[in-house]
């Protein structure tokens, strides 16, 4: 098999995807058991998109994300401990427990927020990209969103604005075919999302979202274009969610069948990657088991950290409604 990355890079991508998968499986389980105060939208099946895109980003680059955003945060370098603690609503979480799954922010590593609103984070990415350009930081911004967002005005206005201003932004549509339970093809006459880029005068590229190397390749080109002043790109990553819309939502519904899910699972990004590592890198089962055990342990530590962390003090309820005056003037991200 042809090598598609260095051994180190291939293992790194595998680890990132595995970290997301195991985090999500454990979070889903804890949610079902009632240990978490809110429901979750899990990223299981879509790991290659976050891993492939974020592997091409620097720490200073900003991402905006979605309701299904744990994968993006982990791929961008979020500490699983603090992420899990945030899902638990604990004081040690990224937002001190105030945010939860859909409000994960970590400025220092370029996470400008998961988001509870479909399309809600797309415009911010345009602003973050412009901000980086004006400050000459060399950074770019990436907006992750689902197929559900592409018929929202935020998609149209943001892509047009970014193109008009040559903003250094990469728009990444994770097309998992369904907005909750609404098939994209039922609500638009053009479900080839990447082709919409031409309406904004920017390049659009569709990619196999289960193949992390393919995603990485299109990301590399889009990031290079954005960083070099060439403006935005729209990437459509064709992918699939193996689980329900949110934890507790059955995976099969009026909109899709168990057979369809099984067909997609044959192209599970982790399965494809394990096969690659075995064939192209000669990895043994023991090699892969070692990685799995290490990441599983990391996730277990995150769970223990979250469980043993304190709740936020109720006396702080009204803290942070407004920023104090000394924060005026801000600072670079």
């Amino acid at each position: 098999m042809t090598k598609r990355a260095s051994r180190e890079e291939a293992f790194r991508l595998y680890e990132t995807m595995l970290r997301i998968r195991l985090f999500e499986m454990r979070a889903g389980e804890l949610c079902r058991k009632g240990e978490m105060p809110a429901f979750l939208h899990l990223y299981i099946g879509e790991e290659a998109t976050a891993a492939g895109i974020c592997s091409e980003l620097d720490r200073k680059d900003q991402i905006t994300s979605t309701h299904r955003g744990h994968g993006h945060a982990l791929a961008k370098g979020a500490d699983p401990k603090r992420l899990m603690a945030e899902l638990f609503g604990r004081a040690t979480g990224f937002s001190g427990g105030r945010g939860g799954s859909m409000h994960i922010y970590a400025r220092d590593i370029g996470i400008l927020g998961t988001n509870g609103l479909v399309g809600g984070g797309i415009p911010s990415a345009v602003g973050a990209g412009l901000s980086a350009k004006l400050q000459g930081s060399g950074g770019i911004a990436v907006a992750f969103f689902g197929d559900g967002a592409v018929n929202h005005g935020a998609f149209h206005e943001s892509l047009n604005l970014a193109a008009a201003l040559d903003a250094p932004v990469v728009f990444v549509c994770e097309n998992n075919l369904y907005a909750t339970a609404t098939p994209l093809r039922d609500v638009t006459k053009n479900d080839e999302v990447a082709t919409r880029a031409s309406a904004y005068g920017m390049p659009g590229v569709a990619v196999d979202g289960q193949d992390v190397f393919a995603v990485r390749d299109v990301a590399r080109e889009a990031v290079r274009r954005a960083r070099s002043g060439g403006g935005p790109t729209l990437i459509e990553s064709k992918t699939y969610r193996f689980v329900g819309h949110h934890e507790g939502d059955p995976p099969v519904g009026c909109y899709r069948t168990a057979e369809e899910i099984e067909r997609w699972k044959e192209r599970c990004p982790l399965k494809l990657m394990s096969a690659y590592l075995r064939e192209a890198e000669g990895a043994s089962e023991a090699d892969l088991d070692e990685v799995r055990a290490r990441i599983a342990d990391e996730i277990e530590q995150a769970v223990e950290f979250a469980r043993s962390s304190p709740w936020p003090d109720v006396a702080t309820l009204t803290d942070h409604v407004l920023a104090p005056a000394q924060a005026a003037g801000g600072g670079p991200a």
Binding site: L112, I122, L134, E157, L161, L322, G329, G330, G331
Partner: protein, 324 residues
Amino acid sequence: MSTISNLDAVRDAIAVEMRLNPRIILFGEGTGERGGSFAHTKGLWQEFGPSRLIDTPVSELGFVGAAVGAAATGMHPIADMMFVDFIADAMSQLVNQAAKLHYASGGKVTVPMVVRASMGSVRGAAAHHSGCLYPWFMHIPGLKVVTYSNPADGYGLMRTALRDPNPVVFLDHKALFGVRGEAPQPDLLVPFGQAAVCREGRDVTVVAVAAMVPRALEAAESVASDVSVEVIDPRTLVPLDMDAIFASVEKTGRLLIADEAYPVCSFASEVAAAVASECLYDLDAPVRRLNSAPVTHPLSPPLEEAVVPSAAQIADAVRELMAE
């Protein structure tokens, strides 16, 4: 006395702050080389250039959202809505993103930005260009809300807004744009949360917002031979200087609120409720509220004139309060 218009005073404030702070940028429709629909950004593009005076497409949602992202990453943007009515298209970005980011991030992310918009009734503006929507913003934790009634306050408040680390909704009343007043000292900064006593009096307190302030002053003058009216301009609606209002009511015992917003869940209802809670026993008469009629602004001049409280109506309400 050197004078200046409200419009030019606020424009000057933006220019002064832009010279001091290279992080300030301005998004708007026609606010670049053209200088804005009201000439309210005149000359800024020529001084600061197209990278800071960013002419946008008609994309309120898009550029308010872009301002949020720029603010959260180190810039201090102004999103110029032209008319406040247009912000309805961008409310999700203002309310769900800008206002909530600081809190939901546990104080990690600040969103220093100004949303500037013109508001209020002027002849012929009709249904889509007359909104006086500050109660929408007052309701949302995380937003500051500013308006003004004279050039010095407009200047000093805009400068303060551009130094505040929070999203600030800055509202100019269209009917006051061309009105001239005493020019501010260049170094003037007006702090948020400090009401101004525009006219001192003993008998009745009139709290008036934006274009209601000159009408309240006209009314006060018209009844001056019989009634001593105190007129208070809160200037910032969030934070609101209730202490100044309480102190005045304790002195006068009578309160009228003149508020161009619609009556339900308005500025007036908020002030009336606070006064009822805090100084009911200082009152010698029930609190009176004057608001715009709860109708869509009609075009026809006789209908339109019947919508917004007039100086004569304010004067009548003051006399009625004295008769209680």
